[in-house]
């Protein structure tokens, strides 16, 4: 099983490497009889094949870990030492337990679906070879992240997925907007990563190790022995700084601004990276570090609130966006908020459960959106769509599946996981989670509204773009090829059934020790005893949200417009994403550039170089003055010598007197 794990993790990397090596073969010159698309097809074969194989490996490992099948015990393996210092070291390796195995199946399954889907979606792109290499490289980085045995390899994966995200957002690098979005994504993540790095430094200083097992062992020991070596202050700071890192990657409120812009990338990228996998890395990391966060309840409380605020904030913004991908992006942001507030009430299993179901249904929604965009010749504005259900019937059906899962309607996947989160929050000890529950339930209502707004605007009612171009597009709207529909159906099955099939994930025992919960944090256990009214409220609100969406966006679209005109301020705030970008431009972006220019012109040129050149000029001026004494006339020199002699002797005489 060790070898299988190694192979599974490294396969996508090998595929990417093999595909990259095709660049070294001059196909047109060496093999002039082949088609120009041959290298692309070879690259697709290598990358897609390797990821499909990795998915098979991941499922084998995952199923073997189930007690009912093979009862494989969690294990870790070491490949080679990366950093060896006298007192601590870090190795490349893999830790296979329930947590990483779950991530393995999520990442490889969605990645395999996206690879296959991209064969269809990107079929006419001249650089699709590069696209597939990036996709597979991303998968490798993500797998290294989730299977790391230590925080440094985790960070390697963390930054690796960040770079692949940067490269894929900016994949169409001739577009200025794509480049700007790519840089924004990287920089915002770097801000978070800088905080996380400081957290890692403090962690290393405190525990003299960056390996999970070491840290958790020392932590447990310190807690039972009540050691003063590890202070609460340090622990809180570590947990906080790492959480800031997670906020960046998982687009939590405050550090979310890169995610909607990241939609500039090709849609399969949005499905894989910006919905199903990379953005959930923050959630995964906090679950992986559950022993640490269980020891820092104050930070946990903050995590919960940040999650809940993100959930409601992103839901309100999702209501009014016109770009189909941006709506889904805000939806992702909101759903990630749910996961964080689950962690905030110590319901890590619920967070991981939702992470899994969300990967399926959100991946499906993005691929569905991609199918619509593909069928509509790259139109992304839902206000220029409508009545597409006849042209894209299969996509329409699958979008329904995804949206029902998103809205939390039984028996779809989202219902199981989202309800567990809300129930845990409601039942958190001392009612601490009730405000979170209320925010989350309100967000659940909004989720249903914006989720079905997409469906009803795009697929139902009348076609909305009356321009000539619009009519042309509508007439030529077409269903996607099988290479796209089959992966969508696979994810559709996940969105339909994963909640029911994997509902055991909601219990702590299922995780076999991969997650630690403090015995006083009873939210998850108590979730079963929730009163019926609190349990059904989210579901009822979800149904109400769908009904509302039907009323406003399928039947009476003008009423939605009227509502927007009535509530101008609310509409403007939502449409402009609460003006967060504008605020950051004012607070950070412009001042940073201004300060940089000031440092360059005033600091370097005026002050430092002014001093340097001033000294040089002074020396020059002094030289010029002194030069006038070098007259070349012997009697001048003679007189100077005589004067000096007289003065010198006079001084000696005067001193000796």
């Amino acid at each position: 099983m060790e070898n299988l794990a190694t192979l599974t993790i490294l396969l996508p990397g090998l595929g990417a490497l093999a595909a990259a090596l095709t660049y070294l073969i001059p196909f047109q010159r060496a093999l002039p009889f082949t088609k120009p698309s041959l290298p692309h097809h070879i690259a697709m074969l290598f990358t897609t094949g390797s990821v499909l194989a990795a998915a098979a490996g991941a499922w084998t490992i995952f199923l073997s870990l189930q007690p009912t099948t093979y009862n494989l015990q969690p294990f870790s393996l070491e490949w080679f030492t990366w950093l060896a210092l006298p007192t601590w070291q870090v190795s490349f390796g893999a830790l296979i337990d329930k947590l990483s195995a779950t991530m393995l199946i999520v990442v490889t399954t969605v990645s395999a679906c996206v690879h296959v889907y991209s064969v269809g979606y990107m079929h006419d792109d001249p650089s699709r070879r590069r696209f597939f290499i990036y996709l597979s490289a991303f998968t490798l980085a993500m797998l290294l992240l989730v299977t790391a045995t230590n925080l440094v390899q985790m960070f390697l994966g963390w930054e690796g997925v960040g770079v692949c995200s940067y490269l894929l957002i900016g994949f169409w690098h001739h577009k200025a907007t794509a480049n700007a979005a790519a840089i924004k994504a990287f920089i915002v993540n770097r801000v978070a990563d800088a905080a996380m790095l400081v957290g890692l430094f403090l962690l290393l200083h405190t525990f003299n190790s960056l390996t999970y097992a070491d840290i958790f062992g020392q932590l447990a020991q310190a807690i039972t022995n009540n050691e003063s070596r590890i202070t609460n202050h340090d622990l809180n700071l570590i947990a906080l700084l790492i959480f800031v890192g997670a906020m960046g990657k998982s687009a939590q409120f405050g550090l979310h601004t890169w995610l909607p812009d990241a939609m500039e990338g090709p849609t399969p990228v949005s499905a894989l990276i910006h919905a199903a996998t990379m953005v959930t890395a923050g959630v995964f990391l906090l679950c992986r570090l559950s022993p640490l966060y269980e020891a820092t309840p104050a930070v946990l409380h903050l995590v919960g609130w940040v999650g809940a605020i993100t959930a409601i904030f992103a839901a309100t913004v999702g209501l009014t966006q016109r770009d189909i991908k941006r709506v889904i992006a805000y939806s992702t942001c909101s759903q990630l908020g749910y996961m964080f507030f689950a962690i905030g009430v110590s319901a890590y299993p619920a967070a991981m459960f939702h992470l899994t179901t969300h990967a399926f249904f959100k991946g499906l929604l993005f691929l569905g959106a991609g199918s619509v965009i593909h069928g509509m010749h790259h139109e992304q504005d839902i206000f220029k769509m409508g009545a597409l259900r006849k042209a894209l019937p299969i996509t329409y059906g699958l979008m329904w599946v995804g949206s029902l899962a998103l809205a939390g309607i039984p028996p779809f996947a989202g219902f199981f996981s989202k309800d567990l989160i809300l129930e845990s929050a409601y039942m958190a000890p001392n009612g601490a989670g009730v405000p979170l529950y209320l925010l989350g339930t309100a967000a659940a209502f909004l989720t249903a509204v914006y989720g079905f707004r997409i469906i009803f605007m795009a697929f139902n009612g009348k076609f909305q773009d009356d321009s000539k171009h619009g009519h042309h597009t509508f007439e030529h709207a077409h269903e996607s090829p099988l290479t796209m529909l089959i992966p969508m159906s696979v994810l559709g099955f996940g969105a339909l059934a994963s909640g029911y099939l994997l509902s055991a994930m909601g219990h702590l025992a299922w995780w076999q020790g991969a997650i630690t919960i403090n015995e006083h944090h009873t939210a998850l256990e108590a979730a079963e005893n929730i009163p019926w009214y609190a349990a059904y409220a989210p579901l009822l609100l979800g149904v109400a949200g769908i009904a509302l969406a039907w009323h406003f966006f399928a039947v009476h679209r003008n009423k939605a417009k009227q509502a927007a005109e009535t509530f101008t301020l609310a509409y403007a705030i939502s449409l402009n994403k609460w003006y967060v970008d504008e605020f950051y431009n004012f607070l950070w972006v412009r001042p940073t550039a201004a300060i940089a220019r000031l440092l360059s012109s005033v600091g370097d040129k005026l002050l430092i170089d002014g001093t340097v050149n001033g000294t040089a000029a002074a020396a020059w001026a002094a030289g010029q003055r002194l030069r006038t004494t070098q007259t070349g006339l012997v009697y001048h020199y003679g007189f100077t010598m005589l004067a000096a002699l007289v003065l010198g002797l006079g001084y000696i005489l005067w001193r000796s007197l």
């Binding site: 770097r190 800088a194 200083h205 360059s600 370097d604």
Partner: protein
């Protein structure tokens, strides 16, 4: 066959360091003597000889053995107790190897020197004397190797100053429009610093009666004197690094220097300052180093953030990379003076890695400068569509420059910062924000040069924009290969300097002279009279 090679090298082994110094100097003389047409070939072939010796030195070096190796000791000016004393340890060897690697690459990168130039101004200067140009580089290589192996202060100082002359010529004769100002600024800035160092060295001679660096390292200088000595040496090294605010010579020097000059400047010459801190400041003035550490942390943290911000607003590509050097070297000085094993390992790694990555970036700028004769960021754009292979190489270097884990820069910066954290948490946290601004200017640079649609300027010169040639790939491949190798297996380098790092990281409060570890092997210490030794070791009692 293998045994023959082994015996051959074993025979030369005692002279490795002398060969490293004098082979390049000899090569410089030969290159000057040959006709202009063949000079580049002669220079290239001759520059491979020191590289071969450097590889052999690394091969024969025993990291487990403490102290200096390959030591050579001959009387030079016995009347003043001055010796021709050479020796190398794990700190100097990687820098020597880097120097010996970069010089052939520089010669290869300057292959078309003297070929027709479109720019009239540069026609006059660049046309002239390729043999002198290549000879300058070889002389520079020899002098810099001398700096890294000299174990006698006078010899060290000789090489330290001698190295200025070829560099002055390279900038002043083959540089850009404003080359004379830049060359003078470079010369005077560094010269002022080193004069103070000379005075301090002479004082130390009067105190100990020897110029031997190993002896100085084990001498405990009086605390009061240490501060002044420290500051005098600091002046020399801080300018060389360069530390903020002594850095303004660097952007000018880089912008005016020819490509190969920038490569050596960024790759090797900046490391001399950091090397000085490690060879002089830390072992010889440990108490002063501790006293001044907070001051240096401040300057370092400022350097990291300040230089990164200034880099971001530069319009000249070379200036941008020059400022990035200042930023990265800030991490080096931070790591050196934090004096923990992690931070010293990190600082040394950053030195080595920055030598690889910034050299690569300057070479990359050179590739475009050779084709378009401009360095203005605003004029570029969309090059990725015309030169995809070049875009790949630059992306590789860019990712290394932003310290992506897996590339060499990451391990260096991570260890430097992680190691500095216990000593200076706040300054380390400030310096860590450098990873944000570092990404900002590098991605800004990459977007400006390569992404987007081709600018009108680029469109007009499309015919002059062939993708990377075979020769250019030869220049880049060694550097690109080192990036992941050192990124994934940093122990290849860290093992070399593990011994000296362990000694440098020892807290100085319990200062304990360890003559055995720092003296040349086989007890071949400089022949100082017994009285001077005793007076030197008696000093702590005063």
């Amino acid at each position: 066959m293998l045994t023959f090679i082994a015996t051959y090298y074993a025979f030369w082994q005692p002279y490795f360091l002398s060969l490293l110094v004098f082979l390049p100097l000899l090569a410089a003389v030969i290159t000057l003597a040959v006709p202009q047409r063949v000079s580049k070939w002669v220079a290239l072939v001759l520059s491979l000889a020191p590289l071969k010796v450097a590889v052999a030195t690394l091969f024969f070096f025993n990291p487990a053995q403490p102290g200096l190796q390959f030591a050579e000791l001959h009387p030079w000016l016995p009347a003043f107790n001055i010796f021709y004393s050479l020796g190398a340890d794990g700190i100097s060897l990687p820098l020597i190897a880097l120097n010996c690697l970069l010089t052939p690459l520089c010669i290869l990168a300057s292959w078309n020197l003297g070929a027709a130039q479109t720019n009239h101004e540069s026609r006059i200067t660049n046309h002239a004397r390729p043999n002198a140009f290549f000879a300058s580089f070889l002389a520079l290589q020899g002098a810099v190797n001398g700096v890294f192996v000299a174990q006698d202060f006078i010899l060290f100082y000789l090489f330290w100053e001698a190295m200025l002359i070829p560099m002055f010529l390279i900038i002043g004769l083959w540089g850009g429009e404003n080359r004379v100002y830049a060359a003078l600024k470079f010369f005077l800035y560094t010269f002022v610093g080193s004069v103070l160092m000379l005075i301090a060295g002479l004082w130390m001679f009067t105190h100990t009666g020897t110029f031997s660096l190993p002896v100085w390292s084990t001498t405990h200088f009086p605390i009061a004197a240490q501060s002044l000595l420290f500051l005098a040496f600091f002046a020399a090294f801080a300018v060389k690094v360069p530390m903020w605010p002594f850095h303004t010579w660097l952007p000018d020097a880089h912008v005016q220097a020819p490509t190969a000059g920038s490569v050596i400047l960024a790759g090797i010459l900046l490391k001399m300052g950091a090397y000085g801190f490690l060879r002089f400041s830390l072992p010889m003035f440990p108490e002063a180093a501790h006293t001044f550490a907070p001051f240096i942390f401040t300057l370092s943290a400022i350097a990291v953030v300040y230089a990164a911000l200034v880099a971001y607003v530069q319009t000249d590509v070379k200036k941008l990379i020059a400022y990035s050097s200042v930023s990265h070297m800030g991490m080096v000085t931070l790591g050196i003076f934090a004096m923990t094993p992690e931070s010293l390992h990190g600082a040394l790694l950053v030195m080595l890695n920055h030598g690889i990555v910034s050299a690569g970036l300057f070479l990359a700028v050179g590739v475009i400068y050779d084709r378009l004769h401009t360095r203005e960021l605003a004029k570029f754009g969309g090059l990725v569509q015309i030169m995809p292979a070049y875009a790949f190489a630059v992306m590789f270097l860019t990712l290394a420059a932003v310290a992506l884990p897996g590339t060499n820069s990451f391990v260096g910066e991570f260890l430097a910062l992680a190691g500095s954290f216990p000593s200076a948490p706040v300054y380390t946290a400030i310096a860590t924000t450098g990873v944000i601004f570092g990404a900002l200017y590098m991605l800004h640079l990459y977007r400006g040069m390569l992404f987007g649609t081709p600018s009108t300027f680029v469109e007009e010169h499309k015919s002059h924009l062939p993708d990377m040639s075979f020769r250019e790939w030869l220049v880049f491949i060694p550097l690109l290969a080192l990036i992941p190798i050192l990124g994934l297996m940093p122990s290849l380098a860290m093992n070399l300097w593990a011994q000296p790092v362990q000694i440098l990281a020892t807290p100085p409060i319990t200062h304990n002279p360890q003559p055995a570890t720092l003296l040349p092997e086989e007890g071949q210490g400089p022949e100082v009279s017994p009285t001077t030794i005793t007076s030197a070791t008696e000093v702590p009692a005063q």
